[in-house]
């Protein structure tokens, strides 16, 4: 469905996290969400992050994306350590190099689907690549919905609009935070299929947080977090294998 890209898969790193620690509060009441997490993400790889509730999986992703600050450690995107950047620089880096799909509330309700898709590029003041826009919109089947407002679309359609927005800027990394958490199984399969296709066809790097083994099975590898640390990793996951690892971690 998406045209074949040129080039071949090269294992170059797009993002590295080293010894990331995140602590909320101070003194005796301090709570550690991340206790020294490291990881590397290479181009064209689809990584799923899993773990029980409170394991720190969402916090880890937020830190990777520069949405949240880290207490110590470093996160290098490209050649830049983002932990020391100002709010403005961080925002610019995010809109140039990252894309986001959240579980819910992805779209601004007063903008149409098309305006939402093009928003990030416009905020950066970039010209629209019409060909790429058409490719993404058609691939996601949104052509008929471009003039609709979020309130006029189903949950699955809204998530597809969010994916289109994230892909339009050709980000180095696309972050997805429980992107199928609010969707039925059919819509989930559609959205995950698009993410997979983006990885396969355009060597898009995707980092996805999920608690659903079915969703995790779309990934190339799965990182398992528990109590703020990476406790396991699974390559070429299947639904059953993910299930088994999760049961083991949860005891």
């Amino acid at each position: 469905m998406i045209g074949a890209p040129p080039g071949e898969r090269v294992s170059d790193r797009v993002m590295t996290a080293t010894d990331v620690v995140k602590t909320y509060g101070a003194g005796d009441g301090a709570v550690s969400a991340l206790r020294g997490v490291s990881g590397a993400f290479v181009q064209g790889e689809f990584t799923a992050i899993m773990g029980p509730s409170g394991s720190g999986k969402s916090t880890f992703m937020h830190c990777l994306a520069g949405l949240d600050t880290v207490t110590s450690g470093s996160i290098v995107v490209g050649e830049v350590d983002i932990t020391g950047l100002s709010r403005t620089r961080l925002t610019e880096l995010r809109r140039d190099r990252m894309g986001f799909v959240f579980q819910s509330f992805n779209l601004l309700p007063m903008l149409t689907a098309e305006e939402n898709i093009r928003l990030t590029g416009r905020l950066a003041g970039r010209d629209l690549d019409q060909g790429w826009f058409d490719t993404v919109v058609d691939a996601l089947g949104l052509r008929e919905r471009l003039t609709h407002r979020p309130a006029e679309m189903s949950g699955g359609q809204q998530q597809r609009v969010a994916v289109a927005r994230a892909l339009l800027t050709r980000p180095d990394v696309l972050f997805a935070d429980e992107p199928t958490g609010n969707l039925d199984s059919r819509s989930s399969a559609e959205v995950l299929g698009f993410l997979r296709a983006a990885v396969d066809d355009y060597r898009q790097t995707v980092v996805m947080v999920t608690h659903d083994p079915v969703a995790a099975a779309y990934a190339d590898r799965v990182l398992f977090l528990a109590d703020g640390m990476i406790v396991d990793e699974l390559a070429e996951p299947t639904i059953d294998a993910v299930h088994a690892r999760m049961r083991k971690i949860e005891g």
Binding site: R87, T91, F105, P109, L111, L123
Partner: protein
Amino acid sequence: MANPLWLIARRTFAEGWLRLIATLLAALGSIALIAGSLQFALRAQEAVAGSDASEYARVDVLVQGGTVDPGDPFAPPDGRIRLDQVASRPGVAAAAGDATTAVTASRNDGQAITAAAEGRTLLRPWVSDPGLNPYRLEAGRAPAADGEVAIVRHMSLAGDLSVGDTMTLTLPRQTRQVRIAGIVSVQGRDAVAAGDLVLAPAETAQRAAMLPAGSWQGVWLKAAPGVSADRLRGELARDLGDAATVRTAESVRNAQTTAASGEGASIAGVVGMLASVAIFVGLFVVANTFGTLVRQRTRRLALLGAIGATPRQIGRLIRLEALVLGAVASVGGVAAGFPLAELIIWLFARDGFDVSASAPQVGWIALTVPVVAGLLVTQAAAWRAAHRAGNVSPIEALRSTVTETRERRWPRLLSASAIFVAACFLCAVAVTVRVSDPPGPDRTFAITLMVLFASMLAVTGLAVLTPFFVGPLGGLVGRVGTLVSGETGRLAHATITRSPRRVSSAASSLMLGVALVASLVLVTMSVNDRFREAGREVMAAEHAIASTARTAEGAPAPLGRDVAARATGAPGVSRTTALTQTEVTLVPSTPARAAAEPFRFLVSGAEQTGLRDVLRLGGRPPALREGEIALSSAVMRERGLRRGEVITVRGAQGRTTLTVAGSYHDPSHLFADQALVDSATMDRLDANAATLAVLVRGGSPQALARAVAGVPGVRVLDRDAYVTAASQSLTRALRSTYSFVGMALLLALFGMATTVTMSVVERTREFGLLGAVGATTRQIRSIVRWEAATVVLLGTILGLVIGVGTLALLHVTSGSSFLRPDPPWWLFLALGAGAAVATLATSALPARRAAGVPVLEAAKAE
């Protein structure tokens, strides 16, 4: 649509205008208030200065008897001049005698015809010489016989009078009926710069001015062909010497125009001060609602931040929204300013300051200044909100509920301290002004201005600090609530202390409203109490007969002195005294003093025999004989005069030498504020001195009313009623603030309603959840009510602190006994009750709606 921020701002406004409408109306109201007061100021200025029409339009040279007051081009001269002395001189083509007498004109139903703004109504002779006559007959004919007059068109419009009607003229010595023979315009205008004119046959005007036959206050001259006005003036001045003042009519006209525009400027100053209150309230309310608006949209702003909007872009988005809001509000505000100006004009006209004759102003000042002010106010109001919005962390978008983030205390404390330091600085300036400047209206004005600005700053400072007060006060209310209504009280306590900023934004609007009302009520009560108390102390007479008409300042207009004689005959009356008043200038005793500003003061005249039956002045002035004057201790002190000293004053009839017989004081400032003389001395100063009132001892109101029944436009007042009426002229500035404060209060309440409504809407989900876990509609409403109680308590306490503080500051800085911070206990209760009613009224509807939200509806995310 290249700019995405502009797109978002526009869409937000277009879609959320219902939510924004309250903010929009608050901004619109404040801009309307700015536009309205500006419009009023411009129209007042035009009305005061605007009639540049001069009765001297055709005159070349003006010869006035004796000397004229250089500071007041409208004042009559203090000497006489015989017409035949100048009329037959070479170079004079035509001559006409002139005399002015201040009168009050009323319709036959007793309603006074108020002169155009700040002007007076003057009785003058009709000028029959066509070469000099500036009056153009618009209807009827010239007055030909005694009892006939011509009036300017303003009077015919204001009093709805036409040719053939009769009207009542109150002259200094008598009240009489006259028939309107003609209606005139001057240079196309309805009135002249001096005010309204009543034109009577020359002899009538001459008699009214108490002039002997052949003598006039002034003579109008037309120069013969080929003789310039300047040459004629020079020749006459040389020949007449000190006996007369000779000026070209042109220089008098210019002086009148300058004086009138100065007067207009001073009115604009007062209105400007009131408008600054409007701007402040607008700023305060819009800033408050904008802050709430931004807080409400935290998630959207955070999402924008997450997907690539920089903090600066988010800040700009808020400023763009403020721009759209400001533009819409400005256009609406300018439009609403016109009817508002009409309302202000009507309110002022009721008080005697009538500027309705002027046309609505549509010049670029009247239109652009409010628009620019509106845009600036909304931008300034959104400044902090924009700053806050830029600081919203993108992570907020991922939270399912929006909670107030804890903020650091010191920036708030620091900015509040800075504001309070500025307020203290203004107070210090006020104190400096008090110490260094001479007492007088200018000083009082400057002090009031400083204290007013200091109070505004204090309101802002307290508003910044309010979140700190919410915690302890919310704890108190929560404890009472838990005692009274159990679990709902506990829940209310939790919601209050969890979001102090939300509670405080509603409370600070209420604080502003309470502060406005409290200051005004306290000042008014203090002033009125003091007047009543002092009036009772001074006025020993049981009754006063005064005019029903009012002067431009709002006090009773002068009445005819013949009323005193009528009252004397009434049964049971033991004493009647006519209280007269005139203005004189102190002739400097040394050349050094001559250079300074001339000292003008008001001299009151009263029959000395039995004066203590009607007036009990402090310091017991001795019974004054002719040629003696008693001065108030304030005047004595200020001019450095001593008892027994001989002073010379210049009055309407030239210079008079008087001996200072003693000092006294009039604590009421209403009867003989500055100086007192015997009635015989008054006749030497000004035979036509205005009679303020006739004070009567003994007799009954009914008997007195019967005695004066034949005189139109007078009424019998008891002690308190007269004191209230007479004090109107001194409390005019205060009364003029009522309408402004009323409108500002409306704005403040509006702001509170907005913030309360928004805070309830903001928590729709929360209320829905409460409903889902079993809270009844009544319980949810009760939570909202307990929260409202905190708002009322906080707003009222802080507002009263400001109100009482302002009055105390005014008392300390001005030292006036009329401004005493002595609030009665019931005022606190009344204000508290008023605040409670206002808060319940504003929160009842949103609370009802919130409690009625279906659980499923509430559970939906944005």
